[in-house]
Amino acid sequence: MSSTCTFGEMMIFQIAKTIPDGALTFHGFGSPLVQLAMHVAKRTHAPHMVLIAGATYGVNPRPPFLTATTNDWTMDRGASSSLDIGELFDLAASGRLHRMFLSGLQIDKWGNCNVTGLGDSVIGLKLPGGGGGCNLSCDVGELTLWTAAHRCPPNKNGVRKFRIVEKCDFVTSLGHRLADGTPRTKLGHIGNGPQWLVTDLGVFDFDASGHLRLHALYPDTTVEDVMANTEFSPGISEQLSISDSPSQEVVDIIRQLDPMKVHEKELRPEDRQRSFEI
């Protein structure tokens, strides 16, 4: 009998733990790790969360299985109701969307994210865009950021292409401070900004100044891994710990819900090999 979980399952669990019970919670699209984390939370510690599915805006759906495309009837089966696109974003703008999840090809030290394009003045590499993430990063109560691409091995010239960067080429979604250091609080947004960042190397929070800080490692990662793969030096929590692993119940929920292992598409091949005792 299996007594291990995969890294994907570990990461889903870490994201799930950031969801409080009773929270009105929304995922976007293109985020199977987050979608699974929301279903795990709803079925374990957060039964009263309001789970709003990305793209379909179904409320508390029970999908038969996860698909790699978010706007699919699989994803809102069993929903008790559906919102429309305007209503969902109104909930955020009126302070009633408590938690959302954002990512980026670049994430900076203040939690700003870039999913629009790489390059300084012209677009060198066009990214797909952020959906509603820009609006939501300002309005939603608390954000959980995630990326499964923190680790950036040096190329043959010894150069690393960092994902966790000093400064984003383009700020698609807002973190705790602008590039010039102006704090988000000056802008009068109703959302409090990023609270957690879950990556393939560890779990981070943000210190009082809004700067990224290492909060927990995985059993198989080290502070040195984090430092080498980050363009700047994140703070390190005084209570730095090792993340706890998901229970068998959590792992079973994920495996039942994602028989095609769609969530592994977010992971690099080497991370798919990682496993943890549970």
Binding site: G132, N135, D139, S173
Partner: protein, 321 residues
Amino acid sequence: MSADQKTTIPMSTSVYTDDSKLIPLSDLVSLVSDGDAIAVGGGLSSREPMAALRELLRAGKKRLHVIGSAHGIDIDMLCGGNAVAATWESYVGFEQDFGMAPNFRRACEDGSVEVHDSCCYTMVQQLRAAIAGLPFMPIRSIRGTDMMKLHPEFKTMECPFTGQELVLVPALKPDVAIIHVQYGDEQGNLCIEGPPVADLLFAQASKKVIATVEKIVSTERLQELGGVSIPYFYVTALSEVPFGAHPTSCYPFYAYDRAHTNLYYTAAKAHDTFVESYLNRYVLDCRDHAEYLNRIGGPAATERLTQWSQGTSSWLELYKA
């Protein structure tokens, strides 16, 4: 006083009252002009008006501005067919299924498509301004992000009630909304089953609405099927086009054709041969939608996609393709 004296209604009010608006697909796309701003309905892998977009490409439409929230093969194909001048989308890609949108990326990176990336709520508020006949709507969000740089047309104001800074986003009134829905009647009443994405907003905000529908039914039958989502007077014209969203899904009729989307994606990624290997074969060289359906494999191919409703395992099977 006679009924017609001084009682004519103004032209171009975007109210369409013909008794029958059913026209062939080729006539439908002639309602789109080169340079138009088009709002494309559906989203991601769902209910995108693909047959109408293929017909647009066959008709050689050019310099379109595309407006939308989260899209995929629809906008990518229009970019691959060199029909797009500017993008006001909030996302164009294939999510975790295949990743980035190859033609869209290239067109943005080589400058042939102007990038005015939007974000969903910004677009919603801009459409709402058009729907309410207002010059703008206020939003609080996006300040502090670089979205402001992509949109010099946005203005800011100090709120006279609270003193806080607000962003004023101007009304967005697409020339044509192009949507595909499950059911319609001859008069143009439309019924959408499942998530409407932004289709209702598009229909209300646009100067014209052209629709393809899986099935034309009577007005009475529309009520039984869940009622009218978009009243007829918004709708300029419509065509009955079964499998008109293929390869995106149009439940309950058919699921997403992942295999064909994979074929598309692979062709789009191999830039140099995209026109030859995909665009000519499945779009430009097809006489019409019927020929397209034959080229993708005919009834055997389309029949397979209707089997999602036979149970979870049949449904799951479609995604393993």
